[in-house]
Symmetry: D2
Subunit: 380 residues, 4 copies
């Protein structure tokens, strides 16, 4: 089998999910390439060494530029905080490496557009880790929509609710809490959580035309881990927006880290003329489906346990009734990326797709500032 | 409209549900008779007077024999503790009254057989208040089975779980707690709760051939409200049994008042060759339905909100989505009883149907004693 | 017991729910007054006569002005289409009658303000039928909030989803479909459905400061039942809005009649610092409750079956585990109204409360037009 | 790190789950040993070679006796059909190998007792793959019981429902369908599914004293894959039994492959004096918990999403809200087995524990034949 030599940058939560995916994919999917854990890179040598050892990376680096220069690396996988994505991606593109990039693509649309330009010029395979597209139930939602089962779409609604930052004693910044530091993250829940909701929505329901948004930062100041000082919190703790899709459907989106009782409750629902679909991440192996064409008195929401061989990805795992979990979405994404290499039909979402999500995020944050409906910039 | 003069005996919980049903039925159903609350009867004059006043009974009695003698009474409704059913029913039959009787029909099958004999000899309309048949979702289950949608039946399982007698400080006997007194109740959960499960099961799935049962009395002695003394508890606190239906399907039944967390959780599930049905009393307006003939990848249990006009009884109430509750099952039963009078096609379950349930209870209690499988006596 | 002579105007769906409530309330609640079904009024004599007969109204009228003039009427209950509320209420107030009025109070805030002025000048007891406050689970939510269990509130979200107007063949207007006719209804889902959501929200979470809204009419023209011609549809089929409450919490509200699979799915969720609450109308007897102060590893959403004697209203009905339904909310409202008369502490929502809801609706519809955030007019 | 050289026998469904567990365990758990995929063994050379290649086994064998003789193998993992377990285990014990064995331990109790005797004489570490003990929610149930939270136990009920053998066209026997062939499997659902339920029950609720059972074979004859002829079906398609635990609690157990709508629905519920617990395999990451000591009006079943760091095993995986699946239970079992080696406190269930389950199965099958209550043989 052909080898695909991986160079991973970053070893946090996402470094682990990606590493696991690279290791697992060939055991469950028949593919033309086998990822090889060639090198992992991070600044803290002791930690990166331990990470390499644990996951079986052959080598490690402490300077990402060196990693990119290495001839034995085919693919750069960017799992750093958001503020490093662009610089690394530009360098990797220049070096002709394939690139996988954690979401969100960039700090904003302008930066993202530059990344897309560079990567398309370089002509290298690329993908962004919006992993939730590859939850089997979500992939099946896409199939059902593409098969025309829902008919005209009237409504889309999505939420991503968490509750882990409610304590005012939680600091911001540093390795563990960079998502609370606007300098590292770019934004709060908008880029972290809503970006997922938007990526799925664009995939399932097409482009968004206009948005009206509000954001809030409930806790205004937190101690900063890097400076040791109490500093203003620059991120959005919560964001909600109304949207109109280009297909005429209406949408509501909401995200927060202040919804007591919800750990990572990403939910969406789509209402079409004939049928509706709903899903939530807390029971990710189930899809809710309602079909108005069912016999009248027997109509009801079906709770579909998406674990059968004729449902997306599931023939590669166990047997009906036995569920998979969160980490498998990353395995699926690697499988599809490699299958795309094999077939020369690139997997999605690529950088260009992810830029569209970025443009929606930009419009959302702009609208939250202006108090007006804002148009979403179109991809050229 | 023709009048149907009601004489109610007993004013407890069931006296209330019946009275409400008589008052409500003509407001929601088009029928040929109107129940008239003619008289209520109980021994405690002050209390029966207050009850009559509250519910609008024209008169009251303190001796049930007098009530039965009254020429202005068409129908005797028995809502007393179980040990009074037979004597009253026999007298009412002799007097040529229509009879409605609370469940269970009798203290045992022998007594019940005598009641059936008397009532059939008298030729009076009769019915037993196994009200759960008239939950719209349960009635719909019956329709689906009768339409042949399930195919061959493999399994039936039913439970009725409560948790209100766990405290050892709860006394037994008297007006409030006669259900814990074997002399008044005949048995514990078997006659009180399993009788409901059995009635539904016989209706939905046909006759039961044999049973193997166990019973338990977790708290062996309780203070008796009538004697003031600590006395042995004679009832079964819990009862579970295996059964084989005549149609070849297997069943498990269980009931207890020691299932922490369940107030009145009556549930049943039926598994057929093509489809399955499940229902529970805690969300009584929903029916769960699974149909294997649905397209493979879209198969799932449908949660049907039984509130539409094409679903049983619901066109008589409100609009889709707006649920009815427990009390309505009694209204439906009166409506069907009266419609049966109108059409001269008697409503069910009548005394004879209820006797079959009694025979199953007898076999269950016998098996719990002998430790063997016991045959259920057949109706002649 | 003192008599409360009712004069009902309108005999549609709401005429039935109110009539049932007046008939039932004294059977289940101990009160100082007994409603007497004195007269019902509507223009169609044959139909109003049949309605009177069915529900037991002593008399009927075909001219509402005559009804108001009658000395034997204590209370005028307005159950007409929205465009008649104001005129009738003003006349009834002038005549010194108590007034119950269906929701929404009025066609808009200006009209509503005139009604409040008149009724307060007349000093007559008054109430608006926002019945969902009296679902026991919803009343319990209010108790929990008032007890301070949630702490600071961060988020409120409410939806009211239906799917009954999706067919383009459905006409508008006339007795059955006046809710689709802007002249009779004033607005579409905003006044019909969102008004319920807003009433509950103001009650549970205080006043709303500003809103940003969008509305849509998916089907632009429908045949009009009164003219027989295809006419422009003037109502909003769907409406969603963002809101900021005065207490600093953020909200999303949405309503539509184009959400396939939902019959009358009114849901709300409130996220507080310490606890969260969720409820939905399709299983109205349940309250979902999450308390962060529970022991860490045992935290979870509790599904509370609100049927116990220590839960709101439930000691007046049956026994634990046995659910009530939709119609009971009207019984509770009458019970509270009468209890308020007894105690001279008026029940809510009164006309003034309902005016605040109207002001929110006005701001929502205005914002949908201007595309800007709009302030909600404050009650004086 | 010390190496633990694995020799796997069998490459079916369980061969895959075990192989995956051996590969994954050190990436997520800090342990003193690292499993090494040394060799896999099966009779079909082409297939075993492919399996070895896919999963990274260094070598393969086609004769299990050779595998056992190999000095470079520390541990024999038995993943064959049931009828091979004993012979292999006895040989492996004799060779002084550690032994992991798929469940059920043996064809019957007699055979199992011989295995226990041999393995205990050999003094080798051993474990049986009753993997469901290691679902985090199930492990947490065990913790809650051990902490005394439930108080006296009244009821235990378990079911394992499937629907994959309903078609009469399904053959029996051979590599894919040995579970339907009594010669290979020993029994049907009793050994395959109820054995899981019994293992969990013994662990959570102690020993079972007596049982009363029934079994059924719905489809009496099926074509046999090995002979090509239609042959009598010797296995039980369904089995249900009543049981009394030594602690005085009552139980119902049921299993079938004829429950339309259920893929692998293993559920259990335990009712104690103070609290109750329920779980099901179709949403394995959730535990339902009811605590009567909660404030009265706020009592309800809590749906606990077992994905937090303070819940069993979960600190080793991702972050709160992100669920794991079926395969992880095997990883946990390997982790605990190795941790037991490290600490010299053997992990459970070992062969002796699994023998007790076998004795219950024996009593169940005996009772199904005799129609009487049968005592469960006690471990010596």
């Amino acid at each position: 089998m052909k080898k695909l030599n991986i160079g991973l940058i970053g070893y946090g939560f996402m470094g682990r999910t990606h590493s696991n995916a690279f290791r697992q994919v060939n055991k469950f999917f028949q593919l033309g390439y086998e990822p090889v854990l060639k090198a992992v890179c991070a600044r803290d040598e002791a930690k990166v060494k331990a990470f390499a050892q644990n996951w079986g990376y052959e080598t490690y680096e402490t300077d990402w530029r060196k990693l990119i220069e290495r001839a034995d690396i085919d693919l750069i996988d960017i799992a750093t905080p958001n503020n490093m994505h662009a610089e690394i991606a530009l360098a990797a593109a220049k070096a002709g490496k394939m690139i996988l990039c954690e979401k969100p693509l960039s700090m904003d649309g302008k930066q993202g557009a530059a990344m897309v330009k560079a990567i398309e010029k370089a002509g290298v395979p690329n993908m962004v880790w919006y992993n939730y597209r590859r939850v089997p139930a979500v992939t099946m939602a896409k199939q059902l929509i593409d098969e025309g089962r829902l008919g005209r779409i009237f409504h889309y609604r999505a939420k991503f609710l968490q509750d882990w930052t409610i304590s005012k004693d939680l600091p911001q910044g540093g390795a563990a809490l960079w998502r609370l530091d606007v300098k590292a993250a770019g934004s709060g829940v908008t880029g972290d959580l809503l970006a997922h909701c938007i990526d799925t929505a664009l995939w399932l329901n097409g482009s968004i035309g206009t948005v009206s948004a509000m954001t809030e930062t409930f806790i205004k100041e937190r101690k900063h881990n890097l400076t040791g000082k109490v500093e203003k919190v620059g991120i959005d703790d919560a964001c909600a927006f109304l949207a109109r899709f280009d297909n005429g459907s209406l949408a509501t989106f909401e995200s927060t880290r202040y919804a007591r009782g919800h750990k990572a409750l990403y939910t969406f629902e789509i209402n079409g003329e004939h049928a509706s679909i709903a899903w939530d991440l807390h029971d990710l192996h189930r899809l809710q489906y309602f079909d108005h064409r069912d016999e009248s008195k027997l109509r009801g929401w079906r709770s579909i346990h998406v674990t059968d061989g004729d449902q997306p990805y599931m023939k590669n795992w166990w047997v009906p009734g036995l569920q998979i979990g969160y980490e498998h979405t990353f395995v699926h994404q690697v499988a599809d990326f490699i299958a795309g290499l094999d077939a020369q039909t690139p997997a999605h979402p690529d950088f260009r797709d992810a830029l569209e999500t970025q443009y929606v995020c930009d419009a959302v944050l702009k609208s939250a500032g202006t108090g007006r409906w804002e148009k979403v910039r179109k991809l050229k």
